[in-house]
């Protein structure tokens, strides 16, 4: 960090630097230990502040010096020097561009390599930036999308997470509405609804609205109108608004759709509007008023997502301050009855960030990674330019001797590399455009559902141009410094090799070390992610996914109004599925691992409820055969039996984490617990058995306590369950027979979300897999670039040392000695780069550790593999120049002397 700052101080004029450099660095050290600059966020703050300061101060300084210099030249008593006719800025610029283009055409190979490597680097950053722009920064087509906030609740007594999707109750929504920080608010519940009346029944992801959502997101219907106040009121006339894609796919884009009646979940509603294409809210395709009276909903039935638009003059910060006050008032008034309000918080967060908070860490890691690739590409190009600057040394020396200003020559070099940067940016933009076409393949299913679009837009274009210019500046920096240091006396006297060549090699070696260090960071990152994916796949799941197919059914409430009707349907379905040849077990369940589970508050009989957190558990409704179907072992007691009839005493099974967390030191069998949900506690249920832990919180997370409720007992009947089918054959070949079984009970009943359990598990590790793949590609690119860099520097160094090697051989060095000499030099660079790279990754360990599973950033296996890979690549890259050195003919080498 400090060395970076020291390097940046080069921006200041030398006179200033000489006087204050030490003190500036001390000031930097002092600032770094200030509390507000601690941690990663603090470091970012510090750098923003330092860079702004550095930028303005250095420009002012240089401007002052320039003014003084001009004053001296114009007013000073120096003898008149005949100068070239003054050229305007534009004339000079055009001249420089012409000269640069001539240089490029004279060396097409150099130009091609330069443009291609920059295009790879810039194109990569533009691709990732484009993805982030489409999926993370600006995912919505709404006007002023950044003024849209999600409001979520955190209940520390229940859990420490803040949920922004489906987390608040209608009374809490009414509390939030008291706030004056928002100009409009809406809340919605999410659910799936079956639409029928066409050829096949279809299940549609639906938002049930409390207040009008469309003015909040700022979008008007494409056809028809929004909801009226009457329609939004409890028990108003049934109305529906559909998405553009549903309109196209199901109704063939029929313009006569308005006022047509469609059947939603068995009831009839009239279509009043069609929304424009694009993402409206979390991939929902159907919007209907919620219908019931919100005033009659209990405080602890939390099923609503609250969206709000910030009022003019309000900010997320001011809104949060007001929400904190409201939460405090609610806590005072309601805590006696609802314990979860103790210390609860309401927070507003930008909607895009709330929705996509899970992918942000991976996205930033990838953007940083691809930035490294770009820096490596720039370092490589700077290396090529330095090599060229050395061969152009005499030309520059002659120009200096003839009176060219050093600034003029630096400007010439800068123009050249800026042109290269812009050419690279143009080519990179094409690459990014092509890459973004395949963006859908790069993103997980849950995001294709969101209907997000990524493509080249104005922001991506601006980003790419900025990257091109930055790359050009970065490339020009070292060659320009070197060129302007040229002393025409020395250069014209010598043959351009001795002396100057040495400092050139040093500068270029430093670049190589930097390239290697960054490659090491990328290789380590890719390696760690790969190991995480492997560990995840090999992780003990607690159940056997192989040979299991899963699918989802949602029974319409109108058709199956009672828990009994629902249970009868599912029991019948299980029987018919089990009869299919090849099926060894069938069961239904409300959620299955490794998906993230629905959880409820629970109460355990005789337990002290005054603890810091109220106990919660995943509550799963499972049919009797579920444990056999997914092979979750029974550890103690017994499973559900046929004798556990509806109406009998309530019974539950728990997993072993439940037993160890909530029933320590007690016999779990026979203990009693109850679920607190939907307005009050359920009946007391007896724990009859303990089953093994299944990964019920995602494949990479710790297992949560879980309680299983028998579906057959008919309590808490859910109309939306998964059918789990285990078979001896390929699970997917069974699907037609299962569909037929469903249709034989109810031909109108759709089946959806069909996937094998193994697919579901692979999907849950998606983020790690895709990050590992992309990082792997970046790391490979970085490695190739670094290898080219090593080759270039070593070749140059060998040719600069030809005479020295000749002398060594003339006085008796063997070819193998020379080979070793050169290779040792390569390995020294690699070793330094390796150490720096490992250090960098450790320092950045926090950023990546969230993506890791079962490995730490200092994983010795990964470090070992990276060391070996890098060593092998360096050996290959260094071998050719080393061999060339060992083949030097001493007689020829010395003849040039």
């Amino acid at each position: 960090m400090r060395s970076v700052y020291r390097l940046l101080l080069l921006l200041y004029p030398a006179s200033f630097r000489r006087r204050y450099e030490l003190e500036l660095i001390e000031a930097f050290d002092d600032a770094r230990v200030e509390p507000r600059y601690r941690g990663i966020a603090g470091a970012a703050l510090l750098w923003r502040y330092l860079l702004a300061d550095l930028g303005t101060a250095s420009i002012r300084q240089r401007w002052r010096l320039t003014r003084e210099w001009i004053r001296q030249r114009t007013g000073g008593g120096l003898p008149h020097v005949p100068s070239q006719p003054r050229r305007s800025f534009m004339e000079t610029f055009v001249q420089d561009v012409r000269y640069a283009l001539r240089q490029f055409t004279r060396r097409p190979g150099f130009t091609a390599i330069a443009v291609i490597s920059l295009a790879l680097g810039i194109g990569g950053t533009s691709l990732i930036y484009g993805l982030m722009d489409g999926f993370v920064f600006n995912p919505f087509p709404y006007p002023d999308a950044d003024r849209l906030a999600a409001i979520g609740g955190t209940f520390p007594r229940v859990s420490s997470d803040t949920t922004y999707v489906e987390a608040l109750s209608t009374p809490e929504y009414a509390d939030i509405k008291r706030s004056r920080s928002f100009s409009s608010l809406a809340a919605f519940d999410l659910g799936n609804r079956n639409i029928s009346g066409g050829d096949v029944p279809e299940r549609v992801f639906t938002a049930l609205l409390l207040d009008d959502l469309f003015p909040v997101i700022g979008m008007a219907p494409h056809l028809g109108r929004g909801f009226t106040a009457e329609e939004l009121a409890p028990n108003g006339p049934p109305a529906a608004i559909i998405s553009h894609r549903l309109w196209q796919s199901r109704f063939g884009g029929d313009p006569a759709i308005l006022n047509r009646a469609i059947r939603i979940g068995g009831a009839t509603a009239s279509v009043v509007g069609v929304m424009p294409p694009g993402l409206i809210v979390i991939g929902t395709d159907l919007w209907v008023p919620w219908g019931a009276d919100p005033a009659r909903m209990p405080r602890d039935t939390r099923q609503f997502t609250v969206l709000a638009r910030l009022a003019p003059g309000a900010s997320i910060g001011s809104a949060n301050a007001e929400l904190a006050t409201i939460a405090g008032q609610v806590q005072q008034a309601e805590m006696a009855q609802f314990k979860e309000y103790e210390g609860w918080r309401l927070t507003a967060t930008p909607w895009a960030a709330a929705l996509l908070q899970d992918v942000r860490p991976a996205a930033f890691v990838l953007l940083a990674a691809v930035g490294f690739v770009l820096i490596i590409a720039c370092a490589n190009l700077a290396n090529l330019m330095l090599a060229r600057a050395t061969t152009r040394h005499r030309e520059l020396a002659v120009r200096l001797a003839l009176g060219a200003a050093r600034s003029r020559i630096a400007r010439q070099l800068l123009t050249e590399s800026l042109l290269l940067g812009l050419a690279g940016a143009a080519a990179g933009l094409v690459l990014a455009h092509v890459g973004l076409q395949f963006a859908d393949a790069l993103i997980p299913a849950q995001f294709t559902m969101l209907n997000l679009q990524a493509g080249v837009n104005g922001r991506v274009l601006a980003w790419t141009s900025v990257m091109g210019i930055l790359a050009g500046l970065l490339v020009a920096l070292l060659p320009a410094i070197q060129a302007t240091r040229t002393d025409p006396h020395d250069s014209l006297k010598s043959d351009g090799r001795a002396g100057h060549g040495r400092s050139g090699v040093r500068m270029r070696s430093a670049l190589i070390v930097a390239e290697i260090a960054l490659s090491v960071v990328l290789l380590l990152g890719a390696g760690l992610l790969l190991r995480s994916v492997m560990k995840m796949q090999g992780a003990e799941l607690g159940f056997e996914p192989h040979g299991v197919a899963t699918m989802r059914l949602t029974l319409p409430q109108q058709k199956y109004p009672s828990g009994e009707a629902i249970t009868v349907f599912f029991e019948d379905l299980i029987r018919r599925t089990q009869a299919i040849p090849g099926v060894t077990a069938a069961a239904t369940v409300s959620q299955f691992p490794p998906m993230e589970f629905f959880s409820s508050r629970i109460e355990i009989a005789g337990a002290d409820a005054s603890g810091a957190t109220l106990p919660t558990a995943n509550t799963t409704i499972a049919s009797r055969g579920y444990f056999q179907a997914v092979q979750i072992p029974l550890l103690r007691g017994r499973l559900f039996a046929e004798s556990d009839a509806p109406g009998g005493p309530a019974q539950v099974l728990i997993n072993s984490t439940f037993a160890s967390r909530y029933l320590t030191g007690k016999d779990p069998i026979g203990a009693r617990m109850r679920i607190i949900a939907r307005g009050g506690p359920g009946p007391w249920a007896e724990i009859i058995g303990v089953v093994g832990d299944a990964r019920n919180n995602g494949a990479a997370a710790v297992v949560r306590p879980e309680a299983y409720i028998a579906m057959e007992q008919g309590r808490d009947a859910w109309n939306q369950l998964f059918l789990i089918v285990r078979s001896t054959q390929d699970a997917s070949t069974l699907i037609p027979a299962v569909r037929a079984a469903v249709a034989s009970i109810d031909p109108e009943q759709p089946v959806y979300n069909i996937q094998t359990m193994e697919e579901a598990i692979a999907q849950s590790a998606f983020q790690q897999r895709i990050s590992a793949m992309l990082l792997g590609i970046f790391a490979a690119t970085a490695l190739v670039l670094a290898a080219v860099g090593i080759y270039g520097v070593m070749s140059y160094s060998v040719s600069a040392r030809t005479q020295e090697i000749g002398v060594r051989m003339a006085i008796g060095a063997e070819r193998s000695d020379v080979l070793r000499l050169v290779l040792l030099q390569v390995f020294r660079l690699v070793a330094i780069g390796l150490v720096i790279g490992i250090g960098l990754l450790m320092a950045a360990g926090k950023a990546i550790s969230g993506l890791l599973y079962g490995v730490t950033p200092s994983d010795p296996v990964t470090i070992g593999m990276v060391t070996l890979t890098l060593g092998a690549v360096a050996l290959v890259a260094g071998w050719v120049p080393a061999r060339r050195a060992s083949r030097v003919n001493p007689i020829q080498a010395l003849r040039y002397e």
Binding site: R19, L24, E26, A27, F28, A31, V33, D53, Q61
Partner: protein
């Protein structure tokens, strides 16, 4: 090369410069202590980045308003002072600061005379 102090009518001093001079009026300080004193006094409203700070110090030094001194002001909390350079006001620096404060005082006095502004000032 050294800048020669220009013989111009005294111009208004820039805000960072006033604050630096004020900080040094309390006693000799090293660079970072000046920055901290200024931030403390203004409650963070005036923030001097290292570049801005030393740029101003360079100017003030070149113009003869402050000078390096062997005298130590207050001991820095972390005890690192071996290499630090301490700056103190020169006589000229005191004069300039007094002039500036008089100038500001005159402005405020003038403003106080205006009844519409008085409420915000008193």
């Amino acid at each position: 090369m050294r800048r020669t102090p220009r013989d111009e009518a005294p111009k208004a001093l820039s805000q960072p410069v006033v604050h630096i001079l004020l900080a040094l009026a309390d006693g000799a300080r090293h660079g970072y202590a000046i920055k901290q004193a200024v931030e403390e006094r203004t409650q963070g409203a005036v923030r001097l980045g290292p570049g801005t700070l030393y740029e101003a110090i360079q100017r003030l030094q070149d113009d003869g308003r402050i000078e390096e001194t062997a005298a130590r002001g207050e001991e820095p909390s972390n005890g690192q002072h071996a290499q630090r350079r301490y700056y103190a006001l020169t006589d000229q620096g005191w004069d300039v600061l007094r002039d500036e404060l008089q100038r500001l005082d005159a402005i405020v006095a003038h403003a106080r005379a205006n009844p519409k502004l008085r409420k915000g000032l008193v």
